[in-house]
């Protein structure tokens, strides 16, 4: 992880220096000091480059003074409405080849200085453990950014919880990026166990325990694979300290299909490799729990993830099978590739029975239909609770992890009526596919406040964004951390 340090404004002794200038503003503070040292050279250079401080503008000067190898001047746009995280994320790729870098945020608040560091760290993430022959010069050299702030200790304090969240994000990105031969349910569960060092209580249930609990829906999905299913329960008792519960916990539930071939209803070959990230819901819940524990959130939260591998096999589930879920409701499996909802059904039921949550949010890369509906800029949000939905939408806007509300309703629910069982696992045809999936899940929430995030379109990115490098996005970690921070702490 890119190390972020804070110190008092002073021209660095060595390395790259980044100056930040607002739209229409003249060099001030450290920038003015440097300009003087350069005998007005900075001002002249900016004029020559028609630099106006607009967002996205930048000017590079090599070795303008003896102590600075590279000077990067970055436009911030208008100061009102500055997104400091994105600013930091935008800076990182321009300095990643340096060995030392200082960002002068002396004109900004402590919180903004901290956010610049956070943005740079989020962008600097790389999943390169399987690149064995990459040349050293192709790897980023920068391992630390020093942010100069008027109030370095304030910035450092503001950055501490952000760092914990970033570590959660990276855990999620690691899990989602891991190939499916490495990350199967048992391995995933083992990695969750490591979170005990953050103070989380971690419990792992195997097939035997789940069979006892009647998890017919989840185990039906798993039965085609030689890799056994797991359910992992991660508890963070930040409020009660594990003693008598003062309040009902918040539950986050994730779909963790470590690889989804589709099962007997097998997927076409093109793009199937993407199905390694069909566990992104579980990955997000795991990273979120690490984030909450890492920043010692003052709330009781339970994260539950259902981990299976969906394979065709001699004992695989067939279309036409009827399974009995932990809730007792029976499900006719029409399409074995609509497996995520089967996993969630049992885990959600368990969450309710065991933890009596005040609210539940589930995350799942559930349907292709949600990508057709919304594209890649919004996750689909389904909820039976207006207040919870509004809070999630707001937390999404605040963190840049946007969601879009989608409808629920009886007319859609009717589409999953089965002739033989209580329900079937697909709605018949492609019509409203993400909605019928949400209706299915809703049948297991017993009317509790619940929200479902269909993240199939947002869990993975095919191109770089300011604070999200191409690949696993960890969509949801920052949003739900914010949700907890804003409404359920303390």
């Amino acid at each position: 992880m890119l190390d972020i340090a804070f110190s008092k404004p002073a021209l660095p002794k060595a390395g790259a220096l980044v100056l930040l200038i607002a739209e229409g503003a003249a060099p001030e503070g450290l920038a003015a000091q440097l300009d003087t040292e350069m005998e007005g050279g900075l001002t002249r250079a900016l004029e020559a480059a028609s630099f106006k401080g607009r967002k996205g503008q930048s000017v590079t000067l090599w070795a303008p003074v003896v102590t600075v190898t590279k000077l990067l001047v970055v436009g911030m746009g208008p100061l009102a409405g500055l997104d400091a995280e994105k600013l930091g994320g935008g800076i990182y790729p321009q300095v990643s080849g340096e060995t030392q870098c200082t960002v002068a945020a002396d004109g900004l608040s402590a919180a903004q200085a901290a956010a610049i560091g956070m943005g740079a760290a989020l962008r600097a993430y790389r999943f390169d453990r399987y690149r064995t022959t990459e040349k050293a010069e192709d790897k980023p050299k920068l391992d630390k950014i020093t942010v100069l702030a008027a109030d370095p200790s304030g910035a450092k304090a503001a950055h501490a919880p952000m760092k914990a969240v970033a570590q959660g994000v990276f855990l999620t990105r690691d899990l989602v990026s891991e190939p499916p031969n490495v990350l199967f349910p048992a391995e995933f569960a083992d990695r969750c166990k490591e979170l005990t060092k953050l103070g989380l209580e971690v419990e792992v249930l195997g097939p035997k325990e789940m069979r006892k609990l009647g998890f017919g829906a989840l185990l039906g999905v798993a039965q085609g694979s030689i890799n056994e299913a797991r359910m992992v329960v991660m508890r963070w008792n930040g409020l009660s300290g594990g003693k008598k519960k003062a309040e009902k916990p918040v539950c986050f539930i994730g779909k963790g299909v470590t690889f989804d071939t589709g099962g007997i209803s097998i997927k076409p070959a093109g793009g199937m490799e993407d199905m390694k990230w069909d566990m992104a819901g579980a990955g997000t819940v795991t990273g979120l729990m690490a984030a909450l524990a890492g920043r010692k959130a003052k709330c009781d939260v339970v994260g539950l993830i259902g981990l299976v591998e969906n394979m065709p096999g001699d004992n695989a589930q067939r279309p036409g099978d009827v399974v009995t879920s932990a809730s007792g409701q029976t499900i006719e499996v029409i399409n074995t590739d609509a497996e995520g909802r089967l996993v969630l059904a049992d885990v959600i039921h368990y969450a309710i029975e065991k933890y009596d949550p005040k609210l539940m949010v589930d995350l799942a890369t559930l349907t292709g239909a949600i990508i057709v509906a919304l594209g890649h800029e919004h996750a689909g949000l389904f909820s039976n609770d207006e207040e919870l939905a509004a809070r999630i939408l707001a937390a999404g806007l605040a963190t840049g992890e946007a969601a879009w509300r989608m409808p629920l309703g009886e007319a859609y629910d009717k589409q999953i009526k089965s002739d033989i069982a209580d329900m079937k696992n697909v709605g018949g045809g492609r019509a409203g596919g993400s909605i019928t999936a949400a209706q299915f899940i809703q049948r297991f929430v017993q009317g509790r406040p619940w929200a479902h995030l269909d993240i199939a379109g947002t869990a993975w990115s095919s191109k770089d964004a300011p604070i999200i490098p191409k690949g696993a996005t960890a969509y949801g970690v920052r949003m739900l951390d914010r949700l907890v921070a804003d409404h359920y702490e303390g």
Partner: protein, 461 residues
């Protein structure tokens, strides 16, 4: 449509909504969906918890569905408040409608409808208003039901001329006029057909001078997909690909019949998308009426091309206070929302909210969908100002949003809402106001209600 009467005529079967009461020995308890054949001349229909006019429409439809072969029926609305009585009648008319002119023998079932009310005179005004709206819905349904060999672009335009008798001005832009206008979008789409395309403009002057409300409709009399031809299965449904234009025409008739004070205009882009030697091709670059160039990627994404020209014409010629376009535009909106809600896109939050509320009020429900920055970016073309859609073969394309982003380019800054009504033109199940498989007329009531609620106050505009 339905006669208001005080008493039951002798040969009519009485259909009586029962809202509550002690359970009948048969098990009938008045629940919605329940029907009791009390005697050959009387049926009870469950109406419990019907508490809105829309719900009473559902009961009216249930009455007709329960009437069986009875040719003459009377729905009992006595003791119902006026708006519920009207709802009952509206539901009955909508459900009883059938398209039978092409059948040698008509199927048995209710044809003569009566609504029993305590005081027919007192309800006459409210009913007249409802009937105006219904006439619009039924016009739209008839147009949608007509097969494509009968309802060609030429015939569609001819029928629209019939609206002149209701005081609507009708103007037609044929191929020469479209060429003069530089309408490269609709000319390309209609170029493959033996029957040339046209834009028909309907104008209702209303009662005050103000910029009109503009309805823009996609009127593809048949859509084979063109060179990017569709699969054979289900292609017959493409006769309904003019449902947007039909709904706009129906809404204009409703406004005229009830003498709405609001000035309104409908711009209907009418064409047939055929494969032929003169058909347009994927790769073609079109110069649209607005002057923009568009790269064709898929000739089956033709709706947005004809709408782009129609929208441009609407915006530049009429400077409307609001533009609403209706189109059976994308399969992707069906994947997104199914057959229970149409997709709503807009560039104006107030208009978007008003349109959604009007839809809720009449039971023609919408759901907002996003136009994200990326949806527009995906339309960047290497050769033209923009491309028409994202190439097929890319998995999971949010084409409904892409299409909306495309259309937005031709609207300018006027308040605009786009209703993607694919999947809503034809009833998918039997429990609605239209029998399964028949046209719904979706959009007519919504547009009429929107105008009634928001655009009839001359001091507001």
């Amino acid at each position: 449509m339905i006669k208001l009467r005080r008493g039951l005529s002798k040969d009519a079967v009485l259909l009586r909504p029962i809202a509550e009461g002690a359970p009948h020995p048969s098990g009938f308890a008045g629940r919605q969906g329940q029907v009791l054949e009390l005697s050959p001349g009387e049926r009870w229909i469950g109406a419990d918890h019907a508490a809105t006019a829309t719900e009473w429409e559902g009961v009216g439809a249930a009455c007709i569905a329960a009437a069986g072969r009875a040719p003459r029926v009377a729905l009992d609305a006595r003791e119902l408040p006026a708006h519920f009585a009207v709802g009952l009648g509206v539901g009955a008319v909508l459900r009883a409608w059938r398209f039978e002119i092409l059948k040698a023998r008509r199927a048995p079932g209710p044809r003569r409808l009566e609504l029993l009310v305590d005081d027919p005179a007192a309800l006459a005004d409210a009913w007249a208003r409802a009937e105006a709206r219904l006439s619009g819905v039924l016009l739209a349904r008839e147009l949608v039901a007509e097969p494509a060999n009968r309802l060609t672009p030429k015939e569609f335009a001819r029928r629209l001329r019939g609206l002149e008798s209701d005081g609507i001005e009708v103007e037609e832009f044929g191929r020469p006029a479209l060429r003069r206008l530089g309408a490269g979008g609709i000319l390309a789409v209609g170029g493959g057909s033996a029957v040339p395309p046209r834009i028909v403009v309907l104008r209702w002057k209303g009662g005050f001078r103000a910029p009109p409300v503009a309805f823009v409709g996609k009127g593809l009399c048949f859509d084979t997909g063109g060179i990017s031809i569709k699969g054979a299965a289900g292609m017959e449904a493409m006769r309904a690909d003019m449902a947007g234009a039909a709904a706009c025409a129906g809404a204009m008739l409703a406004l005229a019949r009830r003498k709405s004070p609001c000035p309104a205009v409908a711009i209907l882009a009418i064409a047939e998308n055929m494969t032929s030697g003169s058909a347009y091709r994927p790769g073609d670059v079109l110069r649209m009426m607005s002057g923009r160039t568009v790269e064709v990627v898929d000739t089956d994404a033709e709706g947005r091309l004809v709408l782009a020209d129609a929208l441009h014409l609407a915006v530049t010629r009429f400077r409307p206070q609001a533009v609403l376009d209706l189109a059976t535009l994308t399969g992707s909106v069906i994947t997104a929302l199914g057959h229970h809600r149409a997709g709503l896109f807009h560039n104006d939050a107030a208009l978007g909210a008003a349109v959604a509320a009007a839809g809720e009020a009449v039971g023609e429900r919408l759901w907002p969908l996003p136009i994200g920055g990326r949806h527009r970016e995906e339309l960047n073309s290497d050769i033209a100002d923009l491309r028409q859609c994202v190439p097929d073969g890319t998995r999971f394309v949010s084409d409904a949003s892409n299409a909306a982003a495309f259309l937005r380019e031709f609207v300018g800054t006027l308040p605009w809402a786009h209703l993607d009504i694919a999947g809503m033109d034809t009833a998918e199940t039997d429990d609605l106001l239209a029998a399964k498989g028949t046209p719904t007329g979706f959009g007519v009531r919504l547009l009429d209600a929107l105008v009634e609620r928001h655009f009839e106050d001359p001091h507001r505009v």
